[in-house]
Symmetry: C2
Subunit: 183 residues, 2 copies
């Protein structure tokens, strides 16, 4: 692993190149050679810093997963609108990362460690949505809130997925309408 400053910088360049390639040409086109070319690094350096291609993919996926949700320290008081807005701005403002988030999640097999990571993160996120819903409407049972959160998150993910196939789709508009139905 990297100890010197140059190594740490190269590591960051490799991660950035990987993220860009995933967003631009998908998982299939993101080869070690393509990553190295874009990061201006030779294969030997790559493998001095990462033990395998999978490691850098996991690193990029981890960053995408973290970026999709707002700061967890705010979770105790956040509103549903804030959570929805955070997701919208993630998709709109960090679109390369959003593409990675959706593509990697979809292409991972059911039993892979990557898909488990996504699922774990999704469950946490659904919990935050459900908590925000119950804060807005204290009469809501925990179970009803959980179901409602899954449906809303499903809609947001599905709409983002739609936008992945068609960059001209008005994601933000549709996402807000999906969220309104619970307001």
């Amino acid at each position: 692993m990297a100890r010197y400053r140059t190594g740490i910088r190269t590591q960051a360049r490799i991660v950035a190149a990987t993220r860009e390639l995933l967003a631009e040409v998908g998982l299939e086109g993101t080869t070690v050679k393509a990553i190295c070319d874009r990061a201006d690094v030779q294969a030997g350096s790559f493998y001095n810093l990462f033990s395998s291609k999978e490691q850098v993919l996991i690193q990029v996926a981890r960053e995408a997963i973290q970026a999709v949700g707002p700061d967890p320290s705010l979770a105790a008081a956040e509103t549903l609108d804030e959570l929805v807005d955070a997701y919208i701005s993630f998709v709109v403002d960090e679109s390369p990362l959003a593409r990675v988030y959706l593509q990697v999640a979809a292409s991972s097999n059911t039993d892979s460690s990557v898909s488990r990571r996504y699922l774990k993160h999704h469950v946490q996120r659904a919990g935050r949505f459900a908590d925000a819903m119950r804060r807005a409407d204290p009469h809501l049972t925990a179970e009803d809130a959980a179901v409602a959160a899954e449906v809303l998150l499903g809609a947001l993910d599905g709409l983002a997925f739609r936008w992945l196939l068609d960059g001209t789709f008005e994601f933000a508009k549709h996402a807000r309408i999906a969220a309104e139905r619970y307001g």
Copy 2:
């Protein structure tokens, strides 16, 4: 292309093997060799019947796309519930095909012919959803119905996507609730 009965039968065997492999091991594990092994065919036969691996993938994707919607000849009078039920039973009863539908759609790049095919199909489907919505509520404007259809379809796709990551997720239950809220 196949002209004799034997050729047509092997063609079908190859398509079936490809569909099964896509559902079981994903796009990555679906190699020509794996397809041939499962279809009990040699590589030469494969390439006598299909000009490339991509062709058989497109064929499977085409079948999955067609299977996702109910019979188009019924479109003039179908209700929203019928459309939603058709999608639910597609996901639940034809789960291998549903996995293929979602995985291939997600792994295709924005500008590929496969993604264009999916998008075209999606637009048609959204139109049928919107028509059914306006039939149920004639006061609904065309534009509002179009937006509502996109949101509902997004939710259905997103929930199916969720189920793809976690086979224990109660897709049918959540899908029906989504239809109630967004329909």
